[in-house]
Every structure is written in structure tokens, then in C-alpha cells.
């Protein structure tokens, strides 16, 4: 059995995002009800797949976050180790940066998939 420690993870969005502390991806599938009269149990057909990503990290000086709100879908890679990763083309839909007098600057990215091929693993 193989397990992975999060310290080996990283995130690439047009280049490695420095100082990340966590990432997560959540997938979902639309379903349409196909139940007919006479059925005893509900039935469904799956439709489109979707995925949303969240990346947390320490904020950075000099970072051009405005430029990360790209108007073209761009590949996001969430690595589980040095070479294996989940990936999809996405839009960065939200960036939250916070500076608090008692803490290191923090930043959170939210991404939304825009990829006919769906979430993939390499």
C-alpha cells in the first residue's frame, strides 16, 4: 500500500505557486431523473462532470495576483508527489488575500473546471 505525505504535494498553475499549504479538489456529476411509471425504484442518467479546486497558502510579496485571473482556461495541476497529479483546464474564479497583524499573509485560490475531458490523473 502506498500513502503520500502532504509535504510532497505542490500546485502548478502556469508555474509552481510558491508557499502553498494545502489543495483540494471536489468532483461532481449532474444526474437527470429517468424514472418511468411502472418502475419500483428511481433511475437516473449522468450528465456533465464538474470539478472545483481550492488552494491555500502563504501570501507572497511581489506576486501579481491580478494576472492570475486569466480570461482563458489554463491547466491546473495538483500534485500528490513529485510526479503524479490531478489536472484539468480551469478558470481561477476567486483569490482571497489577507494580511493580519498577528500572522503571515495568507492567500486562498478557488478554481472552476472548464474542460470537456474532465478531471484527469497523470
Amino acid at each position: 500500500m502506498t500513502v503520500y505525505h502532504g509535504k510532497s504535494a505542490k500546485v502548478d498553475f502556469g508555474g509552481i505557486i510558491a508557499f502553498t499549504t494545502s489543495w483540494s479538489v471536489s468532483t461532481s456529476a449532474d444526474v437527470a431523473r429517468s424514472t418511468d411509471m411502472g418502475d419500483d425504484f428511481e433511475t437516473f442518467e449522468s450528465g456533465f462532470d464538474d470539478a472545483t479546486f481550492t488552494v491555500d497558502g502563504n501570501a507572497a510579496t511581489e506576486r501579481n495576483t491580478i494576472a492570475q485571473l486569466l480570461l482563458e482556461a489554463t491547466e491546473l495541476k495538483c500534485y500528490i508527489d513529485a510526479t503524479h497529479y490531478f489536472h484539468a483546464d480551469v478558470f481561477c474564479i476567486s483569490i482571497t488575500e489577507t494580511a493580519n497583524l498577528n500572522d503571515i499573509g495568507k492567500i486562498t485560490y478557488s478554481f472552476e473546471m472548464s474542460d470537456q475531458d474532465g478531471l484527469q490523473y497523470t
Partner: protein, 130 residues
């Protein structure tokens, strides 16, 4: 120079070129709106989207020092600096103060929170720092 982590104790906030006093936290939320642009396809099931407008909101928390420094409804340039230097960048844009929240609790310092809606372009280039 390259990216580096920063501590919030050095951060600063300016409204209409005036430095806000007794700031304890600032926060910026940048947004990119998207719309569903998925189309019928025999085999591909991933959702597609198209990008819309960029925008953002911000908030600045301070200790209250008397009358509010900013009135709701006013418009000016808001600058939020990461570490007080222009080189480290931050956020700058014309913003409207959408709300002001003053508060006092029996066991704490009285506070004020200013909330802003950016109005137009937001940049990471700041000019009020050293």
C-alpha cells in the same frame, strides 16, 4: 528580487492617499465571473465555461479611534500594501465604501470595519509605500 512570505504586522492600508490608523487586518477578494458554456457532445462530459468580468471587494479592520475615518458611499483610491513597500506590491484601485461597522464589546478594544467594492481596474502596483 523574488516572491517572499511577509508578516502582516508590516502591512498598511491607505484611503484617498491617507494612511489608515490602527489597522489590524485587511483582506481582498478578487473575482472572475464565469458562465456555463457546455455543449452537447457524444463522449466528452466535462463542463466548459466562459470568462466574464473581473472585480473585487475588500475590507479593512481597525481599532476605533473616534469618528469613522471613511463614510459609507464615498469613493476614492484604496491601497493595501503587503509590507509597506511598493516593491512588494499589494492592491490598488478606485473603490466605494459600501458599509462601515463599528462595535464595542465589554472585554475588548472597540473596532471598526470598512467594506469596499472595487470600481473598475484593480492592480497589484502600489505607490504609497516606501
Amino acid at each position: 528580487m523574488s516572491e517572499a512570505k511577509y508578516h502582516g504586522r508590516k502591512s498598511e492600508a491607505y484611503w484617498d492617499t491617507v494612511k489608515l490608523e490602527q489597522v489590524t487586518e485587511w483582506s481582498v477578494v478578487l473575482n472572475l465571473a464565469t458562465v456555463d458554456a457546455s455543449v452537447m457532445h457524444a463522449t466528452k462530459t466535462g463542463k466548459s465555461r466562459a470568462a466574464g468580468f473581473k472585480g473585487g471587494t475588500a475590507s479593512v479592520n481597525c481599532y476605533l479611534e473616534g469618528d469613522n475615518a471613511i463614510d459609507e458611499g464615498t469613493k476614492a483610491v484604496l491601497e493595501l500594501l503587503r509590507d509597506g513597500t511598493n516593491a512588494s506590491k499589494g492592491y490598488k484601485g478606485t473603490a466605494i465604501c459600501t458599509s462601515v461597522e463599528d462595535g464595542a464589546e465589554i472585554d475588548g478594544v472597540e473596532t471598526v470595519t470598512y467594506n469596499f467594492q472595487f470600481n473598475g481596474e484593480i492592480t497589484n502596483v502600489v505607490t504609497e509605500g516606501i
